[in-house]
Amino acid sequence: MAAGNEVTATYYIQHHLQNLTFGYHPQNGWSLASTSAEATEMGFWAIHLDTMGWSIAMGALFIWLFRKAGRMATTGVPGGLQNAVEMVVEFIENLTRSAFHGRNPVIAPLALTLFMWILLMNTLKIIPVDYFPELFARLGVEYMKIVPTTDPNATLGMALGVFFLIIYYSIKVKGAGGFAKELSLTPFNHWALIPFNLVLEVIGLLVKPLGLGLRLFGNMFAGEVIFILIALLPFWAIWLLDVPWAIFHILVVTLQAFIFTVLSIVYLSAAHEHH
């Protein structure tokens, strides 16, 4: 009984943490992975359909909501939706003004997109862990992991986008030479120490997106695992732990979206500055 339970519990957890993967399998060709081992064998040329689908759905929801509010925007007394949207926009605007030194019309909308998108994706976590996997299992879909931010691909993908922007603005503001000089001559301004500086600075540069993506992923993934573990309890005891954890996660969801956004702004601000 105990051993059997353990196997089912392990299976349950693994099942909930497996993405719906579509890719080229050496034996089966282009197919959906039916086990996590198959998904691993597909290698890099595979795609997580659930992560992509839910993240794009959340992004589209954000765009649709804010576009709707923007289209109806009046300078008079705002309605409910406009009020809420303006609150977020104003919050992001103030955040950008305080964290970003310089002038760049791209930063504030970028921050808004990051914040709202991550917030919406994280919020999916509040939905009980079994709802969607069960629903899709009935429809014949084996795996369904609905929170995109518990997939490192999603968080690192966004961090990669921010990283590209850091590189782009570093080169645009300082010039390719200026950027190279910054990498090679700081923190020690001596020609003999160029290799040392280079190693230091390149690691520093690469750590930015990695930290950004892994921080969000780590927080969300850990939270998700605990939700799944709580779901293993007897049904009458679940709410005892699930409710406090979910309430706590309202904070985590917002905080992680906020941290990702603020750090992106700070990194981009640093990219605009001459040393």
């Binding site: 890719g23 890099f44 997580h48 019309p105």
Partner: protein
């Protein structure tokens, strides 16, 4: 938990959403926000200006009221003076008129008296002639004595 194409897909989705936000989402909301801020600032400005205007207008109204009160009392005084003057004039005129009326009445009376005298005179002469005729019973040559009788009448 494998790193795969999803990474690239997510980066592309991210780029598209950011582009869309920059292009279509941010500007209208931001514009509405800033326009409203400007409108409110303008409104507050206008309100303070209006209160200043009101103060000015009150001051002006008070000054006008004071002026008009002064003018009214002046006019009243003048009217008083003028009315007493008019009464005086009317009295004077009435006296003069009365005097004139009395004088003209007197003249008329005189005239009347004279006319009555004349008439009386004429009648007396006729009466005298008739009387004389009766007395004398003789015919008096009217032609011969007419002159005489006229002279008599004139003497009366």
């Amino acid at each position: 938990m494998n790193i795969n194409m999803t990474l690239i897909g997510q980066t592309i989705a991210f780029a598209i959403f950011v582009w869309f936000c920059i292009k279509y989402v941010w500007p209208p909301i931001s514009n509405a926000l800033h326009e409203r801020q400007k409108k409110i600032a303008d409104g507050l400005d206008a309100a303070s200006r209006a209160s200043r205007d009101l103060e000015l207008a009150q001051e002006k109204a008070e000054a006008t009221l004071r002026d008009s009160k002064e003018q009214a009392s002046q006019i009243l005084e003048q009217a008083h003076k003028r009315s007493s003057q008019m009464i005086e004039e009317a009295r004077e005129q009435a006296r003069a008129e009365g005097e004139r009326l009395v004088a003209s009445a007197r003249a008329e009376i005189e005239q009347e008296i004279n006319r009555a005298k004349d008439e009386l005179r004429a009648q007396v002469s006729t009466l005298a002639v008739t009387g004389a005729e009766r007395v004398l019973e003789a015919s008096i040559d009217e032609k011969a004595h007419r002159k005489l009788l006229d002279k008599l009448a004139a003497e009366l």
